[in-house]
Subunit: 206 residues, 2 copies
DNA sequence: CCGAACTTACCGATCAATCGTTAAGTGCAC
DNA sequence: GTGCACTTAACGATTGATCGGTAAGTTCGG
């Protein structure tokens, strides 16, 4: 497969170190496959090749495992959005194009976390959910501001900007649910196509 | 809230009959709120105002409860699609318009079941899932055929019909996740707007 | 260069609580 | 007095979490 200390074959002492990453990866896969409540912490430990207790050595609870996963990937999305929009002028067409592209790329690059975030969001305990709800709202504002600006400047010709925004976001987000990494459609193609779809949704006319 | 024998208030004899409906309704609400694995059959029974075993008198298992729920609402969607398309000519513009409208209406009318179907689909046991997968595929074909016909007839001007289809379906399906029944946007308005969005996605030109 | 003190990274056993499911019994309508 | 619509009580299995223990690795005074 890959790097240094992998592949246990039964002989020799069990490997030390890397437990934290192994557990995080196992949790990610398990949550993605069976969902939060469908996954037991024993599933995760087994998958990581560690004991149940090792999980509690690295993480205080099952809930923390989910929250950390969602939180990290959400912040990653925001970082990507900021980076993309910072390198773009103030033309709403360019900005919408950039935001769609970065969203499509994110849904593919972090497909597993995307699906976990959308499907398991409701299983976050209130404390964790509330902490992230602010981020979610600013994501909505990111889209809404660009679309509103495009309408104001006469680049987009829609009566209902909120519906356009929801349609674009829903279409982009759904990519994580059907995209197959090994398929014959490449990421740049996909980004290109969805950017075009988004511009049609906001009724952009050149 | 509504019909005949509801609202227990502690006094009087326990109500007889209606147990089946009470359990189905309770399961629907519980699955919607906490998800399949997040819901215990004790939650459902408590909500229905019945004992745990009454649930097993009416349904053979928790899994059956979920499968029946999804199956019934999926068939309902197909019935509505058939009815709507039967009353429509062969113009792909009219047919896409009709299919979008019926889908939007369904997502609002059966909002709870819509969300359960999408979120809990993966928790169906293989036997149940396979039985429904055929329906799901024919839904995809319904959309794909209309769009392909529109492209062939020169009504829709898109290069990638699959992406358009996925975008439209994703946008319609997402309605169930954000729509608020008490809100200020009516169902006819919503259907109208989404029909317009869909026609823009397929690049319809009059 | 040594060994005591301490930390890191785990394991096995076990906890009370809850899970889905079942068996056996009860009250009421007809 | 029969059968439908339930109930109470219990089953073994599994759940998330905690316990004390321990083999390695690290630090550091002498």
């Amino acid at each position: 497969m890959s790097s240094a200390p992998a592949e246990r074959n039964g002989t020799g002492p069990p490997p030390r170190g890397g437990g934290r990453d192994a557990i995080t990866a196992a949790a990610r896969e398990s949550f993605a496959e069976r969902g939060y409540h469908g996954t037991s912490i024993r599933d995760i430990a087994r998958r990581a090749g560690l004991s149940l207790s090792a999980l509690y050595y690295w993480h205080p609870s099952k809930q923390h495992l989910l929250a950390a996963l969602i939180e990290e990937s959400t912040h990653d999305y925001f970082q990507r959005c900021d980076d993309a929009l910072r390198g773009t002028g103030d033309d709403p067409v360019d900005r919408l194009d950039a935001l769609v592209r970065v969203t499509v790329e994110y849904r593919v690059a972090r497909q597993v976390e995307s699906n976990i975030s959308t499907l398991e969001w409701r299983n976050l305990e209130p404390e964790n959910r509330e902490r992230l709800e602010g981020l979610r709202r600013s994501a909505t504002r990111l889209w809404a501001d660009i679309i509103a600006d495009g309408v104001a400047r006469g680049a987009f010709h829609i009566q209902h900007p909120d519906d356009a925004r929801r349609a674009i976001v829903a279409a982009c987000n759904a990519i994580a649910q059907w995209y197959e990494p090994g398929g014959d459609i490449t990421l740049p193609q996909l980004a290109e196509r969805y950017a075009a779809i988004a511009l049609r949704i906001v009724d952009h006319r050149a």
